[in-house]
């Protein structure tokens, strides 16, 4: 029965695919879409604790990234460094509680594992001017020599706490608390308007 209940996005009421903003020569240079549905699990623990670090590594298929602001990946799963004792595991939706349970099983009593799949809205921006849109929002160095694929950082965009990752060149994922999802979508699309932007269907 669970499978039949579809998850409703925080952006459901305003999401519209198509081409918007400035009508520029060469067409829109920013593309946005919501990344959904996702499984997102918040992981907390001590990376020196072998039971914990090893367990996370086993469940995710990649080692816990220790260097601040980095991401480890295994297939479609990303393990994002948040703080010295905190990470976020993100993958396309595996079904309710599945990723959480896998991590819990692998870690045993070590660390703290909690499913936050429904607590985040994740917006992906890509294209030649995606970087400029990000520069409008956050006081981070988005230069391609600095914010390279595999980097993550936390900052504020329009007064909302965000996690920003760079999965590939000229591509950024912006994570916000679900309640700020609509505001962030409005803000990002507004900032992209200057360059013309395209909204595509959500995909995880």
């Amino acid at each position: 029965m669970v499978e039949m209940t579809e998850r409703v996005s925080a952006l459901a009421a305003i999401y519209e695919t198509g081409t918007f903003g400035n009508d520029v020569d060469g067409g829109p240079s920013v593309t946005l879409h919501e990344r959904r549905p996702l499984s997102i699990v918040h992981i907390a623990g001590n990376s020196d604790d072998q039971a914990f670090a090893g367990g996370v590594g086993k469940a995710c298929g990649c080692a816990l990234p220790i260097e601040p602001g980095t991401i480890a990946t295994a297939g479609e799963l990303s393990l994002i460094w948040l703080a010295p004792t905190r990470w976020l595991a993100v993958s396309p939706d595996q079904g309710p509680g599945i990723l959480e349970a896998a991590l819990r099983d692998a870690c045993g009593e070590s660390g703290a594992i909690i499913d936050v799949s429904h607590g985040r809205t994740v917006i992906r921006l890509s294209g030649a001017h995606a970087r400029m849109v990000m520069m409008k929002g956050a006081p981070l160095d988005f230069h391609k020599s600095s914010f390279t694929p595999g980097r993550a950082a936390q900052s504020a965009i329009s007064q909302c706490g965000t996690l920003i990752t760079c999965p590939a060149e000229d591509t950024f994922d912006v994570y916000v608390f679900r309640g700020f999802g609509q505001h962030m979508w409005e803000w990002l699309t507004d900032a992209a308007g200057e360059f013309g932007y395209k909204v595509e269907n959500p995909v995880s």
Partner: protein, 999 residues
């Protein structure tokens, strides 16, 4: 003779693109490439504005950001903007500008009568005159503001778009003149990330207004070639039309980019301005210098200009600001200008040089037959609002402190003045660098750097093109090296001429004949004359900062760019103290004004602050909810049905909960997931009551104190498994409580193995409250939710409406109630299903107002009572306080003040006559007719009409209230003058035994 002052050819304007504009409702024509100032001068418009205090006629004085006089009201309607320097406004087709600070017109200005009485309006006049009688100040102020006001701001919302940008670089170069260009090129060649910022539409700095050569090329051709080179480099960003407004700590600079100001209107998506914050590893300041006026009689008549400005208008715009000029100088730099002016077709009546010795610069001027008067001064300008008519010249005596001999009268229509050059050290000074006075060239120069910056070129008093090019290249290479680009080296520059300003003869006040009382202006924008500075000193304002404030010297939109050095030099002379001892006033950001729009950016309208929406937001909207902001959250306040008043809806919702079943969106409540072997111990230390023995599957109400013993927050915390808890907080304290817990774990008790994380947004929470709530939930879950299966304060993990969730048996309303929690994306499905399945049970949503009434009826506390001044005991939680364990705030609550028996305590209130409502926010007093000041016994924290109790009730914090049940006091609102006699009662006014919620 034609009225046009445009030269037949020359200038970097596009004569094939005429632009039409209006000034004070008169239509004129300029060309693409003009500024408003150059276009006005080309049309022979000399009178631009009236001065601030005396309403004297003023015209254009400069060709750049230093302009003190030529300010206009630009554009109309919602886009109108005051105090805009005409010298920096790029002309566009259809531009509308008007003069300001005049009434009814700039030509016939009523307040110019001030000028006739100017001897009665000395420095500090307003302070001295309008202070008595005190009560009249409000009236005086209105008249003074009207008379002294500059332009006016728009009275409609700004239709333009403004944005923020953030950037990082290795080397930021401020200024695109010769030094800045060489710096940028040298730094960029090393591979460093360079941002080159220049305030003008075209790079080149002062070269734009000159007729110089770099190597064999014309200087501007060289500039263009460097521009092309830089633009092709991937590591270089060129920001033109951009001012470095401010230089802050950590090499963070704020830039103001005028992206759309040169357009008639920026299109819908292009911002009018962008406010940049740039973090630079290294900074090169190449901000140039500003020519200084000379202080002589009537030096403010329209047509008296800085010499380099006349030169720039001639060279850059093909405009001669007059046909017949007198140039008054104390240095060599004016001679080059004279040659250019002459080349542009102007007649030069004379060059007046206060220096006694002829220099090499004089020769080419003399060769053209232009008379040069050495050891002479222009001591007076004749003219009026129509402009300069002529000058009066006299020789200097031997000491140079008086004029001597006979007056030479000379006709002219424009006067150039050159008092030397002032390096633009604003950014250097803002960065906290220390300045040094150089007596030989009479100016302050950068001395000791405080941040990672270096100056190059004229802003460091390096005159001469060749030297500036070399110094810029060196500075750029050094900056790149310091930023980690070890191979950086100065790029070479073509050999160029290197004329400086030669010897300068300082003459801070040009002498005037005996018994003359000519106004010699120092600060043109603020109408400060030499006599005002002298008066301030006589009256004892001897500190330069005091002189500034008393006379307004150096204030206003130009911040004394042309007047500061002259002003402090006069102070120095009057005090007979060397200039370094007098010092200088502080250079504050911004360099030129930044609009509020640019500072605000996109944070306006409904994006002023983010909106936080629950997963059920759309449902509430569809159901006709009126929303109320709670922090950033939008919460449904009530759901009005057709034909209902707001109060009808609220009372209906309340009664529906008490008699049937209601549902309330509690998603915004803070939720914190707590895991780890020490979780129970941690909670024990955080709450006043015990959590160690809380069984799995149960929740408990907890109260948390601050370190000072006052109540911090409350909420229920559930034990999901041995080492796993979920805490709830109030909506308002969700952030602060998480911060508090993280602080305790990271700093105070790092040995505790506990992890906390916010899960507020993961869960969609719904209160299902009322006698029918159990029946409703039973229809949607197979779990046992009977009184035995899920007793009061029980929690169960269940499947509900086909999704996994939790049911908590808790009640804020005082009814039999549950809180259902499901993952947010399923919230809409579960909420709608419950609504649908409970139709026959009378289910209806309720909002914050109904919730508020019910919590008042039950005496449950919220933020109004948890106001940071109440203890647990004050609120009736004294009995919960554990004596068996230590907790945060425990030490504090044993302090004497916490134990006093007449502390203000929580109490219920009932309106004695049953008809009068208890005024909101009222004071509790013994007798409202008593003498003022009277003792305030307490304050009303909540009030409502209870549709269940059918009377007006409230909650209050009142002195010794617990022992005063049944006492009658008064609730009086000094704001609304409402007054109600109230009886103190238990705060638990509805179902005090709590039978309903346990049933």
């Amino acid at each position: 003779m034609s009225r046009s002052y445009r030269t037949a050819e020359g200038g970097r304007i596009d004569r094939s693109k005429p632009l039409s504009f209006t000034f004070d409702d008169v239509r004129y024509t300029g060309f693409q490439g003009d500024t408003l100032a150059s276009a006005l001068l080309a049309n022979g418009v000399k009178l631009i504005a009236r001065s601030f205090k005396y309403h004297r006629p003023r015209g254009i004085m400069s060709a750049g950001p230093e302009e003190p006089c030529g300010m206009v009201q630009l554009r109309e309607g919602a886009r109108t903007e005051p105090n805009i320097r005409a010298t920096q406004v790029e002309l566009f087709d259809g531009l509308v500008a008007s003069s300001q600070n005049r009434w009814p017109s700039v030509k016939w200005d009523v307040n110019s009568i001030n000028n006739l009485f100017n001897r009665m309006l000395p420095a500090g006049f307003y302070y001295k005159t309008f202070m008595w009688p005190k009560a009249m100040w409000m009236t005086y102020e209105e008249v003074i503001r009207h008379a002294a006001g500059m332009g006016r701001s728009a009275d409609q919302p700004d239709p333009d778009r403004y944005e923020h940008m953030h950037a990082y670089c290795d080397v930021l170069v401020a200024g695109g003149g010769p030094a800045g260009l060489m710096a940028a090129k040298s730094a960029a060649d090393s591979g460093a990330r360079v941002i080159l910022v220049d305030e003008n539409p075209e790079l080149g700095g002062y070269l734009r207004g000159r007729n110089q050569k770099v190597g064999a090329k014309s200087a501007m051709d060289w500039v263009a070639s460097v521009h092309v080179e830089l633009e092709a480099m991937e590591n270089v960003t060129i920001l033109s039309r951009t001012t470095v407004a401010s230089y802050y700590d950590h090499n963070m600079l704020v830039l103001n980019e005028h992206t759309g100001d040169h357009l008639p209107t920026a299109d819908g998506w292009t911002p009018r301005q962008r406010n940049w914050k740039v973090w630079a590893k290294q900074v090169v300041l190449a901000t140039g210098s500003i020519e200084r006026p000379l202080v002589f009689g009537n030096n403010d008549v329209p047509g008296v200009m800085l010499t380099n400005a006349i030169q720039a208008y001639a060279n850059q715009y093909g405009v001669t600001p007059g046909r017949n000029a007198v140039v008054f100088t104390n240095n060599d730099s004016a001679y080059e200008a004279v040659l250019d002016m002459h080349d542009a077709g102007m007649r030069i009546a004379a060059v007046v040089d206060n220096r006694t010795i002829e220099t090499a610069a004089t020769k080419p001027v003399r060769e053209r037959g232009i008379p040069v008067f050495h050891n002479h001064v222009v001591f007076n300008v004749r003219g009026n609002k129509h402009g300069v008519k002529g000058v009066e010249i006299m020789a200097l005596n031997e000491a140079g402190d008086h004029v001597a001999g006979s007056i030479i009268k000379m006709d002219c229509d424009v006067v150039g003045m050159s008092g030397g050059w002032t390096p633009t050290v604003h950014l250097f000074s803002q960065s906290r660098g220390k300045l040094r006075w150089m007596e030989d060239i009479t100016t302050f120069v950068p001395d000791v750097s405080f941040q990672q910056e270096r100056s190059a070129g004229a802003c460091k008093a390096t005159w001469g093109l060749n030297s500036c090019l070399k110094e810029g290249a060196k500075a750029g290479a050094e900056a790149a090296k310091a930023a980690g680009f070890d191979t950086a080296k100065p790029v070479s520059s073509p050999k160029s001429s290197d004329d400086g300003m030669g010897e300068i003869r300082a003459m801070w006040r040009v002498p005037q004949p005996p018994h003359s009382h000519l106004k010699r202006f120092v600060d043109f924008q603020d109408d400060v004359a030499a006599s005002d500075v002298e008066l301030a000193i006589r009256e004892g304002y001897t500190s330069i900062e005091h002189t500034k404030r008393y006379t307004t010297l150096g204030m206003g939109t130009d911040q004394g760019k042309t007047s500061n050095v002259n002003g402090l030099a006069i102070v120095s002379e009057e005090l007979d103290k060397p200039i370094p001892e007098v010092g200088h006033t502080t250079f504050r950001p911004p360099y030129t004004a930044v609009t509020m729009g640019a500072i605000t950016g996109t944070e306006r309208g409904h994006h002023f602050s983010p909106t936080r929406r629950s997963a059920l937001h759309e449902w509430h909207k569809q159901a006709g909810a009126t929303f109320v902001p709670a922090g950033m959250w939008m919460r449904p306040q009530y759901y009005q049905q057709p034909g209902e008043s707001m109060w009808d809806a609220i009372y209906r919702e309340t009664l529906n909960v008490r008699t049937k079943v209601g549902m309330f969106d509690v998603s915004p409540l803070g939720k914190i997931d707590i895991q780890g072997p020490d979780s129970a111990e941690f909670l024990n230390r955080c709450y006043i009551n015990g959590f160690g023995k809380l069984p799995v599957g149960k929740c408990r109400y907890g109260v948390m104190l601050r370190e000072d013993g006052m109540v911090f927050d409350d909420g229920t915390t559930s034990r999901l498994s041995e080492n796993h808890f979920m805490m709830t907080t109030t909506t308002a304290k969700a952030g602060p409580v998480l911060q508090h817990l993280e602080y305790l774990l990271d700093v105070i008790w790092p040995e505790l193995n506990v992890h906390v994380v916010s899960v507020t947004e993961e869960w969609c929470g719904m209160a299902v409250a009322g006698p029918n709530s159990r029946e409703l939930l039973a229809r949607c879950t197979d779990a046992d939710i009977s009184n035995e299966g899920l007793p009061f304060m029980g929690v169960a993990e269940v499947d509900i409406c086909g999704v996994p969730g939790r049911i908590y048996r808790i009640s804020f309303s005082g009814e039999l109630a549950y809180e259902v929690g499901v993952s947010s994306d399923w919230g809409p499905h579960v909420w709608s299903t419950l609504m649908e399945k409970g139709q026959d049970l009378g289910v209806a949503p309720y909002g914050t107002e109904a919730m508020s009434i019910m919590r008042i009826e039950k005496g449950h506390v919220v933020g109004a009572e948890l106001n940071g001044r109440t203890t647990a005991d004050d609120l009736g939680f004294g009995g919960m306080t554990s004596t068996k364990k230590a907790f945060i705030g425990q030490r504090s609550i044993t302090k004497p003040a916490f134990l006093e028996t007449d502390r203000k305590q929580l109490t219920g209130l009932k309106s004695v006559d049953g008809k009068t409502k208890i005024p909101r926010g009222a004071q509790i007093v013994a007798d409202p007719k008593g003498r003022i000041p009277m003792e305030q016994l307490g304050e009303v924290t909540a009030n409502c009409y209870s549709p269940n109790l059918k009377e007006f009730i409230g909650l209050a914090i009142v002195k010794g209230a617990r022992d005063r049940k049944g006492d009658r006091l008064w609730a009086f609102s000094p704001l609304t003058k409402e007054c109600c006699e109230v009886e103190l009662c238990s705060p638990h006014m509805y179902d005090p035994e709590g039978e309903r919620l346990r049933g």
